[in-house]
């Protein structure tokens, strides 16, 4: 794409059209859908705040790998705990036991400010979750079709030979918070490409598939397919882990956006236009 505001007096920077309208719309649709899916998902988790790995059901005689709850004890009379592989951690105030929105202490997995709705309300959380699951799925399918059709995938996302060779340097650059400028800033760097591809083609399909594995109706498509993932309870655990891997991705993504120019990136994901600062500085007259 040519510079947008070429012309006028010579300048050291110009706006570059970086993100097309469909990509911008689908990006912000994902922000909304994933946020709601996470928060309503945590509310659904709270209905049975335990995760299992072994066994074909949650009552197989094998204890859960993760469990949250509240029991009597401590100074206030109750303690919130999180048990991971049999080791118990006191997580009062956040996990297992926390204040509800109106300040009453209540036994619940994740606290009210992390869930939709605030208060325990499983049926409403399911309504939110399964509506926005469709939003995510349709948005994701449109994105993949668009990315192939517009060559966004082959042009911008697929790593080329130069990318593979620069992987070591890219890791060092990221660790030093050094970010590309000039023409290099017009393209995704190799770590960025790989993490986007991982999210688009591995994590998101996996979390959707593990959601379907929990559906007793979808299990009947090919009886036994859920066992390929260790059974329904293991699928639920993988769904949960994949959700937090997506949270980790978003945390790193937002961190990188902030350290490499928050406003420039925000503008480019809203208007499409990203300011490129040229590396060669002409002396000012």
């Amino acid at each position: 794409m040519p510079p947008v505001d070429a012309g006028g007096p010579p300048s050291r920077s110009y706006l570059y059209y970086r993100h097309t309208l469909p990509v911008r719309i689908m990006h912000w649709t994902n922000v909304v859908a994933l946020t709601i899916l996470l928060m309503s998902g945590l509310q659904i988790f709270n209905a049975h705040p335990a995760l299992y790995w072994a066994g074909k059901s949650s009552y197989s005689g094998v204890p859960p790998v993760v469990e949250m709850g509240a029991r009597e004890g401590g100074e206030s009379g109750y303690v919130g705990y999180t048990r991971i592989f049999g080791r118990e951690f006191n997580t009062t105030g956040v996990l297992g036991l926390s204040n509800s929105a109106d300040g009453r202490l209540s036994a619940r997995g994740f606290p009210w400010w992390m869930t939709i709705p605030d208060d325990p309300w499983l049926s409403m959380a399911r309504s939110w979750h399964f509506f926005f699951a469709w939003v995510l799925l349709i948005n994701g399918l449109l994105y993949v079709l668009y990315s192939i059709g517009s060559r966004h995938l082959s042009r911008d996302l697929a790593p080329d030979r130069r990318d593979w060779r620069s992987i070591g340097r890219s890791i060092r650059d990221h660790l030093r918070f050094r970010h590309p400028s000039g023409d290099e800033a017009k393209r995704y760097n190799v770590l960025q490409k790989l993490s986007y591809l991982l999210v688009i083609f591995v994590l998101l399909p996996l979390i959707i598939l593990m959601g379907l594995a929990m559906s007793p109706w979808m299990d009947t498509v090919w009886p036994g397919w859920v066992d390929l993932f260790g059974g329904r309870q293991a699928a639920r655990t993988i769904h949960f882990i994949a959700a937090w891997l997506l949270v980790a991705f978003v945390a790193i993504h937002v961190f990188e956006v902030i350290v490499s120019g928050l406003w420039n990136h925000l503008r480019s994901m809203v208007t499409g236009r990203y300011r490129i600062v040229e590396e060669r500085h002409e002396p000012l007259a």
Partner: protein, 258 residues
Amino acid sequence: MNRSPDAERRRFLSRAFGAIGAVALGGCERLSRSEWFPKVLGAGEAASSAVARAVTSRRSMAQEFTEADRSPMFRSNGTAEPDTDAYRAMAANAFASYRLVVDGLVEAPASLSLADVRALPSRTQITRHDCVEGWSAIAKWKGARLGALLESVRLKPDARFAVFHCADPMAEDGTDFYYESIDLEDAFHPQTILAYEMNDTALPVANGAPIRLRVERQLGYKHAKYVMRIELVPSFAHIAGGRGGYWEDLGYQWFAGI
């Protein structure tokens, strides 16, 4: 003071994002409690139901397990013992006085004793019970095939749903009896049975004695316990809250396949 256009834009953007965030978080709570928004969310359920049925056959079978997969303890959820004198009296004499009524849009209404139900064509299956809460448990069930029973009473052409009226009152004052409904596709599904045995013994009271429905492609709350009457209807809009089940009336999805 003159602000640069960039600073203006930043101020605008940061306010816009802050406002969107605040509205979004407070708004979800309001939307949940509104009249109209849950109906919009209902489109998700409609899509799930339509797609789930489109990608499976009418007779797609739920996974069946081995004896070794059975849960050491099969959890009792919901009612553990119906709190009525009528039920207690019936349980006290081993359900000798129990009658399963089949009526509504049928040519030959029936009233079956437990022995009559046990004499119907049966099926035995080891299946996983998936609760809407997220847990699951595996047990072996033996019961009368609902399809065979419905064939024997001959449905009228406008029958579309089977409604299961149960013996357990859900309100403190002994009213508001549990009920559920399924469509005829599920009713005639080979794995849909009126279970009278669990793990090779008579169905315990805690699990729905003398009879509970097994409708294996759906979540636990569809599997009505303490079934007393099966009513064939063209629509369930006139029953209780009109949404086809006790939990459905409280906002749960009628299609519990997901």
